[in-house]
Amino acid sequence: MSAVAPAAAMPAPLPAAERSSGLPLVVLLLLPIALVNAFGFLAPVFNLLRMSFYESQATGAMVEVYTFATWASVLRDSFYAELILNSILVSLGITLMTLVCSYPIALYLHRSSGTWRTILLVLVISPLLTSAVVRTYGWVAILSENGLVNNALGAIGIAPLKLMFNKTGVVIGLTEILMPYMILALLAGFGRLDPRVEEAASTLGAPPWKVFRHIVVPLTMPGIALGSLLCFVLAVSSFITPKLLGGGRVFLLATEIYDQAIVTLNWPLAATLSILVLVIFGGALVLYTRALRAIM
């Protein structure tokens, strides 16, 4: 709104009038979501933060006395450092696997058209219609000792593989569960891809894999960044699948928070770990925005 003000006679140009009446309208429109966020998100997070400074007793009781004891023990204990590192690494692994499995599908979807595209898109989204719990049990049926894979391997005389109650199971299960999100995020970020640009590269002497490496991958980076952020966040915070497919032997932040809150009843510790998860998310977001700025 930087219209040059008319020099003479007519004062009070319209833009100014619009602005003075427009500002409260914006506030009014933002108010509902601001309130929901304040009561539904900020307040609980603040509560969580406060709880992380309470004192916990061996009995499981929580005393409303402020202390740094929980934070100090978490930051000092190498178990938690390993837990955090482990969570981040497993989630990064899952994100990478999801990206590798989803990228070709997303690329194919991006290039298809008409009814075929619609059918494929529905197929991609349809797993989201079933809850992650049901899909995780599906993976149990496939990966367990007497599951589909090991029965098939047994039939051809190969010793059973340990596919469950370890990281392998968690990675396989979460990869499949997160794929729809990754594919949709990739598709949303494929806007800069242009078949003419790829053709230009090939007329300039680039064989197909070089077109992919020098043109397709860089142009789809926004989608890759968005999908990776989304899947990393979902992987770090996922709980059901690591719980069921990890069988208590894969230690991740989300499962540890559950155990501390429900089993051990150490709420201050659970709260501390939850805040750490939020910090990790914050870090991921910073990396994402940096990455985006570097790409564009």
């Binding site: 640009v197 053709e199 230009a200 002497g205």
Partner: protein, 360 residues
């Protein structure tokens, strides 16, 4: 069909090139010989197969049948990236994530040319298209004309065997188009590069190119120099597509075409309905006095339906037996406009009228 089988083998040789999509024939049995260093236009309306032909030459679309031979080597089955052709797209198709210099360097990097040589050739190519100083800009920071220059530099820097231009000027505004037209022609001549120029704009085809291939519905209608196409169009389509023409219908009988009871000489062998084409500015117009006729000119009479004075030309629409004929006369000053309703005589030199069978 006007395939020049008698012509000497060209640098680019297209033989019976055909592209079918199911039942639809996009390019039908195209034969063409392009000598080294010539700029040849593929001219035609949209959907005539000119772009498909170009894309087959580049290897972006596989040919259904036929051969594409360059400098004696058959490229029909060769992959695009090994064809060594420079293609300039209508939409520029620059790499948006690379600087101007990187865009131009791309083809050389793919050829593993050494670094120093790349830097030198990129610099030359950018200077050639007058973009020195813009090396580090991203395509999005450039105007349409500048982007098209980058695309041109990028295609030329690899020293392609053939330069292919797919409607390169269509996205530019009129002033820039004229400028780029001259520039492309200058560069093409200076480098002596063989080039194919696809366009639907007859002005571009006539003014820039050594030869023009007029295409219609997948077939080659006529191949010739701009002058040949304009002065001796072989089909009604060429006569109407290249330059402007009055398109009239008549009935041919015994070596004469007849409309509204007036007869003019027609080529032997034509019988029944025919199309008569004549260009508006090749017609003469005089107040009705057939007696004063020049025996070297053919003529018909009609009535002025409309007279428009447009400064440099005086345009008349003349009603000849129910058909409207446009006449354009260059103004010289001092002429008086003939009022609508007055009888007039139209005349022309016999070589300026074209008569085709109605089926053509």
């Amino acid at each position: 069909m006007t395939s020049r089988t008698d012509a000497p083998e060209g640098f680019l040789s297209i033989r019976s090139l055909t592209k079918r999509y199911g039942d639809f024939v996009a390019v039908d049995n195209l034969d063409l010989e392009v000598p080294k260093g010539e700029l040849v236009a593929f001219l035609g309306p949209s959907g005539c197969g000119k772009t498909t032909s170009l894309r087959m030459i580049a290897g972006l679309v596989p040919a259904t049948s036929g051969r594409i031979v360059v400098g004696g080597g058959d490229l029909t089955e060769v992959a695009t990236h090994r064809r060594d052709m420079g293609l300039v797209f209508q939409s520029y198709a620059l790499f948006p994530h690379m600087s101007v210099a990187r865009n131009v360097a791309f083809g050389l990097e793919m050829r593993k040319v050494d670094k120093g040589e790349i830097a030198k050739r990129v610099k030359e190519a950018i200077a050639l298209v007058h973009l020195t100083g813009k090396e580090e800009h991203r395509p999005a920071q450039l105007s349409g004309g500048q982007q098209q220059r980058v695309a041109l530099a990028r295609a030329l820097v690899i020293r392609p065997s053939i330069l292919l231009l797919d409607e390169p000027l269509s996205n530019l505004d009129a002033k820039l188009r004229d400028e780029m037209r001259n520039e492309i022609r200058d560069i093409q001549k200076r480098l002596g590069i063989t080039a194919i120029f696809v366009t639907h704009d007859q002005v571009e085809a006539l003014t820039m190119c050594d030869k023009v291939v007029v295409m219609n519905q997948g077939r080659l209608e006529q191949l010739g120099t701009p002058v040949e196409l304009y002065e001796t169009p072989k089909t009604a389509f060429v006569a109407s597509f290249v330059g402007r023409s009055n398109r009239l219908t008549a009935v041919a009988r015994n070596g004469a075409a007849e409309f509204a009871g007036q007869r003019i000489a027609a080529p032997a062998g034509l019988e029944g309905p025919v199309q008569v084409m004549i260009r508006p500015h090749r017609l003469g117009l005089s107040p009705a006095s057939p007696a004063a006729a020049d025996p070297a000119r053919q003529q018909v009479t009609g009535t002025v339906a409309r007279a428009i004075f447009a400064g440099d030309i005086l345009q008349y629409d003349v009603d000849v037996g129910g058909q409207i004929v446009s006449v354009e006369l260059a103004t010289r000053g001092g002429e008086s406009v003939i009022e609508p309703g007055r009888p007039v005589t139209l005349s022309w030199r016999p070589q300026d009228i074209f008569i085709y069978g109605a089926a053509a």
